[in-house]
């Protein structure tokens, strides 16, 4: 089971990295969130029964963990001394050699609320309305309206940079 789990985390690592980068602004918080997501996934891995697709399940766990109070509820009590202490979540969008457009996209997304960030990420990841509804928990009928609103807000934010 451990091997399957490691493969799964590796397969979806980009998705988890993306969420960590969207919701955390420093390397330590990103690593904390990544670890928390991996722990949450591991906990529910045995009971995952393919009722939804793997990616939908991973989006759910990752977003719930990121948006929940876990990342804020307590200050880090202990420093990571484990072998993953040197591990860092890749934060490509902040690399200095990036195109200006990626930097302004990132700055604009940072201005969105936590829920809007989730919606924009799912939209840009080309998830279907059905999947978005399953992940976020809003009716399919209102997904389109929400996307349009967030798209408009994002475009306006980008224009200001």
């Amino acid at each position: 089971m451990e091997e399957q789990f490691i493969d799964l985390v590796n397969h979806y690592r980009a998705l988890i990295y993306k969420v960590c980068n969207l919701y955390c602004h420093d390397a330590e918080s990103r690593r904390d969130l990544f670890q928390e997501v991996v722990l949450q996934l591991w906990k529910s891995f045995p009971s995952f029964r393919n009722e939804s697709s793997k990616s939908t399940w991973i989006y759910k766990v990752t977003l719930n963990t990121a948006i929940s109070n876990f990342r804020k509820e307590s200050k880090r009590v202990e420093k990571a001394t484990a072998s993953f202490a040197l591990f860092e979540v890749p934060d490509i969008s902040s690399e200095p050699d990036n195109a200006e457009s990626l930097t302004s996209l990132r700055t604009a997304i940072n201005k969105l609320s936590d829920v809007e960030k989730a919606i924009v990420m799912l939209y840009l990841d080309e998830k279907t309305y059905q999947q978005m509804s399953e992940i976020i928990g809003i009716p399919i009928s209102s997904i389109g309206v929400r996307i349009n609103r967030v798209k408009k807000k994002l475009s306006n934010l980008i224009k200001t940079y």
Partner: protein, 211 residues
């Protein structure tokens, strides 16, 4: 930058993340093995320790109620201890709920339901905390009064009332000094303010999902 350009930037960003080096087994397994260092585990651990402490207090209170070590004559003399039992039970229920909420549902529900459940848990926790303060305060004061009948058996009414009044005054002073000194207030107030800020943030997110 239009939406198509945004999409293309995003897919480039995605591709670069996909191309990052795979995580090795050691990193992932050490994350799992070192779960005791996780923040959630730390909260759980402290909640469990507090829960054990509350159960010990509860056992002591029940021992007082059933064993009657102060030789109380009237059943009303036990009221303060029942009030304290109610306070401890409320805290115990809140801790159990908090342990249940920490991660129990995060893997099963959608974001909207998760936020609603978390808000409900926060509101319950805040209500319980305010009741806890009222119960502990009144329980503490009434405990002094519960010894009045015993005093009346050996002393005059005036002396018994005077001693009880002094006892109540001393208890009030202790509460007041502790409150003014800030030892209780600072911790509680900071926690309360954090909870309130957290709750408002969660409510804003939930509203964000509704409209």
């Amino acid at each position: 930058m239009n939406i198509e350009q945004i999409k293309s930037e995003w897919s480039g960003y995605n591709a670069r993340l996909e191309a990052t080096e795979k995580l090795n087994d050691v990193i992932i397994t050490s994350m799992l093995k070192e779960r005791s260092r996780s923040r959630v585990t730390a909260i759980r651990r402290s909640n469990r320790a507090y829960l054990v402490w509350m159960l010990l207090v509860l056992a002591m209170l029940f021992a007082v109620i059933t064993g009657n070590p102060f030789d109380f004559t009237y059943s009303w003399q036990f009221i303060p201890y029942w009030i304290l039992v109610a306070g401890v039970l409320l805290t115990t229920a809140s801790l159990i709920q908090s342990l249940k909420n920490l991660g129990a549902e995060i893997n099963k529900v959608d974001l909207s339901s998760f936020l609603i459940n978390t808000i409900r848990a926060y509101e319950m926790k805040r209500k319980i905390e305010s009741w806890f303060v009222v119960l502990i305060f009144s329980g503490g004061l009434l405990t002094v009064i519960s010894f009045l009948p015993k005093k009346l058996q050996h002393k005059s009414l005036a002396q018994s009332l005077l001693e009880t009044t002094i006892g109540v005054a001393v208890t009030l002073c202790i509460y007041l000094v502790a409150f003014k000194a800030g030892a209780f207030k600072r911790r509680k107030q900071a926690a309360f303010e954090n909870d309130l800020a957290e709750l408002n943030e969660l409510k804003a997110l939930s509203v964000d999902l509704k409209y």
